[in-house]
Symmetry: C2
Subunit: 376 residues, 2 copies
Amino acid sequence: MSTALTHLECSKCGARHDADIEQHLCSCGGPLLARYDLKRARVLLNASVLAQRPADLWRFRELLPVRDGQNVISLGERTTPIVPLSDGLLVKDESPLPTGSFKARGAAIGIARARELGVRDIALPTNGNAGAAWAAYAARAGMRAHVAIPAAAPSIHVRECTELGAEVRVVDGTIADAGKLVARWVASDGYYDASTLKEPYRIEGKKTLGFEIAEQFEWHLPDIVVYPTGGGVGLIGIHKAFEELRALGFMSNRTPRFVAVQSTGCAPLVRAWNERRTESVLWENPNTVAYGISVPKAIGDFIVLRILRETGGTAIAIPDDAIDEARRRIARGAGLLLCPEGAAAAAAADELRKSGWIHDGERVLMINTGSALKCL
Amino acid sequence: MSTALTHLECSKCGARHDADIEQHLCSCGGPLLARYDLKRARVLLNASVLAQRPADLWRFRELLPVRDGQNVISLGERTTPIVPLSDGLLVKDESPLPTGSFKARGAAIGIARARELGVRDIALPTNGNAGAAWAAYAARAGMRAHVAIPAAAPSIHVRECTELGAEVRVVDGTIADAGKLVARWVASDGYYDASTLKEPYRIEGKKTLGFEIAEQFEWHLPDIVVYPTGGGVGLIGIHKAFEELRALGFMSNRTPRFVAVQSTGCAPLVRAWNERRTESVLWENPNTVAYGISVPKAIGDFIVLRILRETGGTAIAIPDDAIDEARRRIARGAGLLLCPEGAAAAAAADELRKSGWIHDGERVLMINTGSALKCL
C-alpha cells in the first residue's frame, strides 16, 4: 500500500508511540495522532498520480495508515459530490456513502487498520451513524461490533446495527453514558475501543473528507468550512488533511476558517469558545433534533478549539426551529433534503452571512454529514 | 450538449414522432422510445473521450435527450459502485444516488428534458422512490410535482415528497389506482404526465445505469443481469443502453441474459413468462414486502418479456421469507444492507445458481435499486 505511516504522536503531550501495535489514549490521557514521513509521501503522491487512481478512499494511500492491501475493505465508497445552493453555499453531501453518512470514512479506515492489528471485536458508543458504519465494516471484515446507543437516538440506528449483526445495547442516558458502558466492556471483555479518538485511525478516515475537498477545489481551498460538530473528529480530520497536503506541496492558498456548528440544545464547544477557554465543560441535559451533534463533552474539544483559533474561525449555536426552517427551505428551494445536522450548518452559514462574519464573494463549503432518510 | 437525438419511435407500431414537442403515448397506446443518430454519436463518443469527462450522468450526453446544457439539473449524481459479495455475486448499488434510489436517474434526465420542453407541473403515480426522486428534481428545476401514492407504501416516501414541496395524495389502492388519479389530474389540470413510460425520457435516464455497467465492466459485459422488476423501465433502459453502445462500437461481447425478478406476492411478468405470453395480465391483490416491485400490470410488460426472450433470460418470483432471509444473510455476512427489492434479486441469483440456470464461473450482476434505510 506504500503508506508513509511512521508513528503515533500524542496530541496533548507530544509523546511518541509505536503505530504497529494496538494503541488507544496516551498515558497522559491525550488522543494519539498518526504521523507520516511527509517527505517520502511527497515523492510518491502528486496531483497527476492521484488523477490516475480510482476515485475511492484509497487513492490517498500514502497518507492512510494501512500497510498491507490485503487488509483493505470496501463497501463501495466513492468521492461524494459538492452540490451548490442558489445562495452560493456549497454542500459537500456525505449521504451517498455506505450506511448513509460520513461515518463510513472513519469506519472504513479504522476497521481496515484494526484488522491489520489482529482485532476481532470492536466496541463503541454512538448517537447512531457511527454505530451503523462500524457495524457494517466490521461485518465486512468478519469482526464483531458491540455498540452502545442512547435510548433517545433515532430508532432506525438500532435496527441498522442489529441487521448488520452487531450486538446493540440501548442505554438510558446520553452518549457520555453509553461511553461509560463501552469502557466497562473494554475492561472486562478485551474489546478494541473504537470510541471517538480513543483509537488513532478513525480520524485518518475522516481525513479523506479533507483530501476530497482539496481535490474538488483543485487545491485552492474554500474560504470557510462550516462543520456540524459533535465529537469534532471530522473537523479535526479535514484540518489534518489540509495540513498534510500542504506539506506535500499541493495547496495554493491559505487554510479555510473553520466554523464549528452546534445546537443551542447542546453547545459545550460554543460556550467554551465564547468564554475563550481551551477546553469545554460537560453540557447538562442535552436536547436537540440534531441528535448526531448531541455530544455533552468531546474528548477532542481542545483540538477543535485550537483549530478555530488558529484558522480565524468561530463557533455558533443554532436553535432547533432554525434547523427545521433551513431544512424545509433547502428541500423546497433546492431539491436537497439535509439531515438535521447539515441543516444546522446551513442555518449557521446563513446567520454568519447576515452578521457580516462571512463576506460577499467568499466561497463557503458546508458538510451535510448524512442521509436525511434516517430522521424523516 | 451535442445530443444525437433525432426523433421518437413507437415501441408497438413503429410510428415516428417529433421529439421536440411534448409527447406521451403513441396514438396506438404504445410507449415512445427516443432514437438517436448513432452514426453521429459514434464520431463524437468513444472510451477515451468518456474517460476524460466528469463521472456524472451527462458524460453520456450524445445519447441523452437534452439539447441545451442550460436545462441540465443536478443533485450530485455520480457513478454508483459495484460491490462484490463473497459468493461472487456483484451488486450494482444504487442507494448512493440522490433521494436514495435508482429513480434519480430517470428523474434527473426526465425533468431536465421536461424543463427544455417548457413544462411547469408534473404528475406521477409512485410506490415511493420515483415520487421522491421526481419531487426532488422538480424542486431543483423550479417545477411543481404532483404525486399519487398507495396508502400501503412505506410512509417515509410521503414525508420525503412533502418535504420536497410536492403535492401528495395518498390513494386507497395499488399503484394502478394511483395511476388512474394521475390520469384525471392530467386531463383536468394539464399536468405533464410523468408516469412510467407515459413520457419518453425517464427511460433515457435509466439508460445511464446500463452505460455505467458497460463502462465499469470495461465494455466486456457480465453474463447475466438480475433486475428486480416492477414497471421494468430499468431493465428496458439497461438493455437499450447496451444496444446503443454496441452500435457505437463499444462492446466486445454479447448482451447479457436478463433476469426479471418479482415477488410471489405480485408476479404478473413471471406468470406471463411461464405461460409464454407476450403481455401480462393484471395481478389481483398484490402483497409483498418488496413494495417497489408491487406493480400489478406494467405498461412496458411486452418490452420486458421481449428482452427476456431475445437475450435467453428468464423471470422468477421470490417469496417474502426468502427476501428477508437474503437480506439478513448479506447484511451480516457482507456488511451490505439491501433494500427488499435488491434482496429479492440476490435471492433470485442464489436460486438460479442452485437450479443450474446460472453456471459456475458466470459473471452475475444484480441491481440493488435503492437505500435500505427507507424500509428499516
